[in-house]
Amino acid sequence: MSYERVPGLVETVEAYGETTLVVDPARLVEACTHLRDVEGFDFLADVAAADYLGWGQAGVSGSIGTSGGRDLNWPSTQGYQALPKPKPKRFSVSYELRALSEHPRRVRVQVWLDDGEAAPSVVGVWPTADWHEREAWDLMGIPFDGHPNLKRILLEDDWEGHPLRKDYPIGGEPVRFSEEE
């Protein structure tokens, strides 16, 4: 099946039996409306954001003891066997779409964003995107333009930072009442 008529289509990627349509963020809503109304993808299953900061920077593994080599206290710091393909921007947002029909089909729509760059909200296309986008904002810090209620969902309203970002340290969050207050 070809998706050439999807508005704003940048690239079609086939991998692991899954189709990914990389779309220009500016035309995301147009593309999603087209996929829903023309291609029949009436069901939005998931919105998943990912942060690629530091992607592929651990270096390629050599024999133990090479430069930038191995820290014995941290297993699995030996580096990659092959460097992963570079990504166009820091963040990706992936929308998993389904057609609930006799012939089930699935497709992933993906947009790439820089830090602070907003994706247009698709709540108007699929109401279920409401909480998914709030989660992506809360945990990954991706703003969504035109979302009717974009506020934190899983963390409290005064939380600082977005914990699923790669530069947010694990165990580094402030713990209340633990200091000498």
């Binding site: 009436d42 990659y80 066997q81 992933r108 914990p163 947010y168």
Partner: protein, 425 residues
């Protein structure tokens, strides 16, 4: 173009009932608020009938719900962040804890994602045993749902009956895996251990007993006047609204949409199993109850079919023979240097999973449980994201609670079958 196959009564109400502009928040109209008669009540987060820590901010006009907003996040534990720090092998322990009622499904979806990236072949015995345990787990999850939901509407005895059968399932899990909950029995490549002796006899006894137990439940509830009055015609959700709100599982099927991932996107041994997908068109709490009951019957049938197949697989391998990913057999560690090295490498450094991103979905007891995984080719997942069906189900609260009475709110929220651990992750 493609229209969802809808059976039963497709349109239970005109148009849409999804609130606008925020689909998940039912706002009180300004003129009603101005009368001063609307009272805002905070319900939860610590309330025994919210199945965990769900908070609902409800606006009441007398006994009528005129506004509602669900507030979640009280159980957020950062599973996804933690999994990025662990090797693939160690991360399998985490998903089970996300939805603590359907742990096998959560474990399965992550293991399937790893296997998809690795391109591992799974021995048939492991596939059938996974199917068997997943269906037992579905019955277990539905039993807890039925017991607690009925309890909230005053049917206390249901709770004891349901937990009696639940106990039998947990005993089976303990027999196979050594754990009653959070079994961690599925490994990338197959199962952690062979099926123990005595499992088939015990499982057969359960399969023979379960239909009679479901008869008991239905005798107690299906024609029970109070139960009917409390569940019929409330919490309405039409097929169109259910799809727009991304609902899945029993909620979607109770709204008349004939959709089940076990059939639509076959995985495990489901293509070879004979089972029916129950669909009801009323879109109310009673329809959701009917779907749950019939699914338990169908799951029992699937378990029986799995047992038939598994009994003939005595002596077959239960895990793939790929020493780069699968732990070597325990006894080899004493005699084989290579096995010891492989064991050490897998446990300390972990195995490497090829670069790529996949989205794998299974039909959990609550609906589409998805797992989006990104690998950078290293020994740890780069990103793991779960599509939690409970999270999405709670998005429908505002729509379902439109025009509801406060007393029905418990029944309606309960019928969405949410597990807060999975909602908040």
């Amino acid at each position: 173009m493609a229209v969802a196959p809808v059976r039963g009564r497709a349109e239970i109400y005109e148009g849409t009932r999804i609130p606008h502009p925020i689909p998940t928040v039912l706002r009180v109209p300004e003129e009603l608020r101005a009368t001063g008669d609307v009272m805002t009540v905070n319900f939860g987060p610590n309330h025994p009938s919210t199945h965990g820590v769900l908070r609902l901010v409800v606006d009441l006009l007398g006994e009528d719900v005129v506004g509602v907003e669900a507030v979640i996040g009280y159980l957020h534990t950062g599973f996804e962040k933690n999994m990025e720090q662990k090797t693939w092998w160690k991360a399998i322990t985490y998903p089970e804890r996300i939805d603590y009622l359907s742990y096998q499904h959560n474990e399965l979806v992550f293991v399937l994602a790893i296997e998809k990236l690795l391109g591992l072949e799974i021995p048939p015995k492991a596939t059938w045993m996974r199917t068997c345990l997943c269906e037992l787990n579905r019955i277990h999850s539905h039993l807890v749902w039925l017991g607690t939901s009925a309890l909230e509407l005053g049917a206390i005895s249901m709770f004891w009956y349901c937990f009696r059968e639940r106990e039998q399932i947990l005993d089976l899990f303990e027999l196979v895996t050594g754990q009653r909950m959070h079994t961690r029995y599925f490994q990338a490549g197959g199962l952690a251990e062979d099926i123990p002796r005595g499992f088939f006899a015990e499982a057969r006894r359960f399969v023979d007993w379960m239909p009679r137990a479901i008869d008991d439940y239905e005798a107690m509830l299906s024609r029970n006047k109070i139960w009917l009055e409390r569940t019929r015609g409330i919490g309405l959700l039409s097929a169109r609204d259910a799809i727009a709100l991304g609902q899945s599982g029993p909620v979607l099927r109770a709204s008349g949409v004939d959709w089940d991932l076990r059939r639509a996107e076959p995985y495990l041994a489901y293509p070879e199993c004979d089972f029916r997908v129950p669909v009801y068109g009323e879109g109310d709490v009673y329809a959701r109850y009917r779907v749950h009951m019939e699914e338990m019957r169908e799951s029992t049938r699937i378990v029986a079919q799995c047992l038939d197949r598994l009994e003939r697989m005595e002596g077959e391998p239960w895990i793939a023979d790929d020493r780069k990913v699968v732990l070597p057999p325990r006894e080899e560690l004493h005699t084989s240097m290579e096995s010891l090295i492989h064991h050490f490498k897998i446990v300390t450094e972990g195995y490497r999973v090829p670069e790529g991103e996949v989205y794998v979905a299974v039909e959990s007891p609550r609906g589409e449980l998805g797992c989006y995984v990104v690998s950078d080719g290293g020994p740890r997942p780069w990103r793991v994201k779960f599509r939690a069906p409970s999270f999405v189900a709670l998005e429908a609260t505002a729509t379902c609670l439109r025009d509801a009475l406060i007393a029905d709110m418990i029944a309606i929220v309960g019928s969405l079958d949410t597990v807060m651990g999975e909602v908040d992750r």
